[in-house]
């Protein structure tokens, strides 16, 4: 006998509920979390190495998502506590993976100031999954081309801050940052655009100031 069942159930509720718990937990322990989304090779790991050093005495941890290898985790291990998540082919991190990583980091006792979640390098899939971060960072680098904000607008629309990395290469690549600004004027006027080079340090002050300000706001809302 055939039976039709009406359901109306959001299938991502399970992820979103865990994300909410992650956010509350990090808030409770005064730990600012950012989820960094970009294409592979845009410089997420270098940005984090320089950012964590730049934050001086603050205590940071990194949750790194990659399909395979612990190469990124090894790079940041000198400057921060780190948990590597290998997704074994999965194209984005999920809230459950981050929840498990927070336990590994011993969030309740570690007295962390910042948690940086380095999502799997991908401009499409990670955007649709809330991990429980306080802020979403979308990063583009100049070698990827100035047309990418419009092409991958679902990554840039929900971002709280947008980073343009590798600006030291802008001239040689004939990168037109006005194209980025024009596209952002139609996609996201809420998020500040910070142009920087993690390699040379240019623009890093603005990014570090944004982080410190976000951390201060988190503290005052506790």
């Amino acid at each position: 006998m055939t039976k039709k069942i009406d359901v109306v159930k959001n299938v991502l509720d399970a992820n979103d509920e865990v994300a909410l718990e992650n956010r509350k937990l990090m808030q409770q322990y005064g730990c600012l979390s950012v989820n960094i989304i970009s294409a592979p090779g845009s410089g997420k790991t270098t940005l984090l190495e320089k950012t964590i050093v730049g934050l001086g005495g603050a205590k940071s941890a990194v949750i790194v998502g990659d399909l395979q290898t612990a190469r990124d985790a090894e790079r940041v291990a000198d400057v921060a506590a780190v948990v590597q998540i290998n997704t074994e082919g999965g194209c984005h991190l999920s809230a459950g993976q981050v929840a498990a990583a927070l336990e590994k980091l011993d969030i309740r006792n570690a007295a962390l100031d910042y948690i940086f979640i380095e999502n799997v390098g991908n401009m499409v899939c990670p955007s649709g999954f809330d991990l429980g971060e306080h802020y979403r960072v979308a990063m583009l680098s100049t070698p990827e081309g100035h047309d990418k904000v419009a092409k991958y607008n679902t990554m840039f629309q929900p971002a709280d801050v947008i980073l343009l990395n590798k600006i030291d290469l802008a001239e040689v690549l004939e990168f037109d940052s006005s194209c980025i600004r024009d596209d952002l004027s139609k996609i996201n006027t809420r998020a500040p655009l910070i142009e920087l080079s993690a390699k040379t340090g240019e623009g890093m002050d603005a990014w570090l100031a944004w982080l410190k300000n976000a951390k201060a706001k988190l503290g005052s809302s506790k």
Partner: protein, 113 residues
């Protein structure tokens, strides 16, 4: 291939429905998916079919409905459907929106035996 994660969640829901509704298997189910999810129907079909083999939803037909995006301007609260100008509010010319529709993936109904 975020379709795989979505297929995992769909299968989880279907298996739980079969357990709680005194039925044996799923033959067909309808999913409405927001446009912004960027689901490729063929990719979701393949992901689901491979995951569901040897489960109570093996061979079930997946009917996918697309839901258009609706955005709400966070400056003036105007609701609109994003078009050529992406998320630019036609009333106040800002691009600061909350997505009201277009992000959900809803399991709407299931046909069981």
């Amino acid at each position: 291939m975020h379709e795989m994660s979505i297929a995992v969640e769909l299968l989880r829901e279907l298996e739980s429905l079969v357990e709680t509704n005194d039925v044996k298997c799923v033959t067909e189910f309808t999913v409405s998916a927001g446009q912004l999810r960027g689901i490729v129907p063929e990719a979701l079909d393949i992901a689901f079919a491979s995951l569901a083999a040897d489960t109570c939803a093996a061979g079930a037909k997946l009917i996918l409905e697309s839901v258009s995006t609706v955005a709400q301007c966070q400056q003036c609260q105007h609701r609109f459907s994003p078009g050529e100008d992406y998320y630019l509010c036609p009333k106040c010319n800002q691009a600061d929106v909350e997505i009201i529709e277009g992000n959900d993936i809803i399991l709407k109904s299931v046909v069981c035996e």
